[in-house]
């Protein structure tokens, strides 16, 4: 009998790969732990009132997250309101209306929007888009009565931040929605066309209801991205710790506050409050991710893979 003197590397290989996987898990746990530890000071000093206090005053060392949470949610809301219908329309164009070659080219172009670094959106937003808003768009919007479009048209502010966020998440929602539209079985659509429906009727009454779960999942993913987006928002949101009803007003998001103030925070309680802001943001994105994954899992089961 021949004795095999070669070492069996397989168990080692398997453990190594498992190690890679465990590092991944460890990182997630460590992020939470680190943020939790880092925000202890602020958690103890301010407690729950941290979440509801608007004051953010490094001089008197009083910190509250209300204005940044408001800014994060409002800018994300604006982004979703604009991006979801636009993405659906583009997906409709790519799947139902455009000839295949044009659809491929346009689809690639839209996906390139996702490849542009966030800081580039920021530069463009501050120097090109904000002036455009101030000169062309905001004077028009200001004619609409109500509290939302008041104040000086500065260009920067909540509205501009929301619009730029919308452009940034547009490619993500579009590409998932496009894939979902494509997954709707042709037979189902053809039967509706056969009854004499128009393209829009087929989309509204067959395609969208059929894929609604996946579309909602795509929106969750876009939402998760918008809520944590940092650089683009930091450039255009205006960096002011106040809550204002006007969309023209400057504001702040959690991510932009971190980007602007983290390296300036000299007092421990200041730094700790910033880390707690990070914890809140991490919690928010975690919640959204959990929702999105739970939802997508349900969808996958229903639509039978491919997502």
């Amino acid at each position: 009998m021949r004795t095999d003197r070669r070492i069996d590397w397989d168990p080692l290989f398997r453990s190594l790969t498992l190690g890679g996987g465990l590092v991944l898990m460890l990182v997630v746990v460590a992020i939470f732990w680190e943020l939790w530890q880092g925000s202890q000071l602020s958690l103890q000093k301010f407690g729950w009132s941290f979440l509801f206090t608007e004051t953010w005053d490094p001089v008197s060392e009083t910190f509250g997250a209300a204005s940044t949470i408001y800014g994060t949610l409002l800018s994300t809301c604006i982004a979703m309101v604009l991006a979801v219908p636009l993405s659906l329309a583009i997906a409709l164009f790519l799947v139902e209306l455009a000839p295949p070659r044009l659809a491929a080219a346009v689809g690639a172009g839209i996906e390139l929007l996702a490849a542009i670094p966030s800081i580039i959106y920021g530069m463009w937003g501050l120097f090109v888009f904000a002036p455009f808003m101030a000169e062309k768009v905001q004077p028009l919007l200001a004619k609409i009565p109500g509290p939302f479009f008041t104040g000086p048209p500065m260009g920067i502010g909540m509205l501009s931040a929301g619009i730029i966020l919308a452009l940034m998440i547009l490619p993500f929602i579009t590409s998932v929605t496009r894939d979902i539209f494509r997954m709707v079985p042709a037979v189902v659509k053809e039967s509706a066309y056969g009854m004499g429906s128009t393209t829009w009727e087929v989309t509204r009454k067959v395609t969208i209801p059929y894929g609604i779960q996946g579309i909602v999942g795509a929106c969750f993913l876009g939402l998760g991205r918008a809520i944590g987006e940092t650089m683009a928002v930091t450039f255009v949101i205006g960096n002011r710790h106040e809550i204002s009803a006007s969309l023209f007003a400057a504001g702040n998001s959690i991510a932009s506050t971190l980007a602007n103030e983290f390296t300036e925070a000299s007092e421990e309680i200041y730094l700790s409050s910033l880390v707690e802001l990070g914890l809140v943001l991490f919690g928010l994105t975690l919640l959204l991710q959990l929702l999105a994954q739970w939802w997508l899992k349900r969808t996958r089961r229903r639509m039978g893979g491919g997502l």
Binding site: L24, G109, L112, F262
Partner: protein, 281 residues
């Protein structure tokens, strides 16, 4: 459908068609607008000095961003050296060993969570983990932050690409007595090769344009670096600082740096996407 006039239904349909075509056009216009602005404003700042000289002191004209260009390349390289092997290992585990086990599902779950974690949170995390204990911002800290962002992306692509390789190939290799590690690294990786490479390329392209995680880890520096344990100049943080500065010359340099980063990232992305696309054909 319910008794609406044919003309009315057709009108609505036409309007929707026009609206959706306009939406697509709008997306493309924004892409064109951004690219045009970066090109037209950035090109003027690019010259020989831009690539070879250190930044000039605040308010003075001239100088370049040589240290930041090298810094960005170096941080991205270090991040890749850490992130890619770990990501590959995790991906192999998920595709080849983990299956549907509870542990594998938890790793998948964490990988999705990490993918959705804002990059600035990773910056705060690495600040607390490395910068505070070591007492200084450093190239290493920046590289680790970027590696953490790459990790789930590489792991997921690896798992996806490996699971596309037909099982018969695995069975054939294992049946011939090839050890598992050799089957994976030599046979499966070869079969999944171009997909893996493009996935990794996309991950590298993505992190090379990241700014937020570098703000509190690598920081920035106007000088050449002497070791990896000190703050290091990099393009994206330089763009952030220069764009917000009041000096016209610095703002021009920020546009130049934007052009450079955009060309790099878009170029790598396009390259990766065309290879994937050619492979699918």
């Amino acid at each position: 459908m319910r008794g609406r006039s044919l003309a009315g239904r057709k009108l609505v349909d036409t309007l929707v068609r026009i609206a959706s075509a306009l939406a697509a056009l709008l997306g493309l216009c924004v892409l064109g607008w951004i690219l045009y602005v970066i090109l037209s404003r950035g090109i003027g700042a690019i010259n020989w000095e831009f690539f070879t000289e250190l930044p000039a002191p605040p308010g003075m004209n001239g100088g370049g961003l040589a240290n930041a260009i090298v810094g960005t390349l170096l941080i991205t390289l270090l991040a890749s050296l850490i992130g890619i092997p770990l990501g590959l290992l995790a991906g192999i585990y998920l595709a080849e060993f983990g299956g549907r086990s509870r542990l594998a599902e938890s790793i998948r779950f964490c990988s999705n969570l990490l993918m959705g974690t804002p990059s600035i949170i990773v910056g705060v995390f690495v600040y607390g983990l490395i910068v505070v204990p070591l007492g200084d911002f450093s190239a290493w800290a920046g590289a680790i932050a970027l590696a953490i962002i790459m990790l789930p992306v590489v792991a997921r692509t690896t798992e996806e690409m490996l699971s596309l390789v037909p099982n018969s190939l695995r069975e054939a290799a294992l049946g011939l007595g090839t050890p598992r590690w050799r089957t994976t690294l030599q046979i499966l990786f070869k079969a999944a090769g171009s997909g893996l490479v493009t996935g990794i390329l996309l991950a590298v392209a993505r992190v090379s344009g990241e700014t937020a995680p570098l703000l509190f880890t690598a920081l920035n520096s106007p000088f050449w670096f002497e070791s990896l344990n000190e703050p290091i100049g990099n393009l994206t943080v330089t763009i952030f600082n220069y764009a917000m500065s009041p000096y016209a010359d610095w703002q021009a340099k920020a546009w130049g740096a934007s052009l450079l980063i955009t060309l790099g990232v878009l170029g790598a992305t396009l390259l990766a996407r065309t290879t994937l696309w050619l492979r699918r054909k």
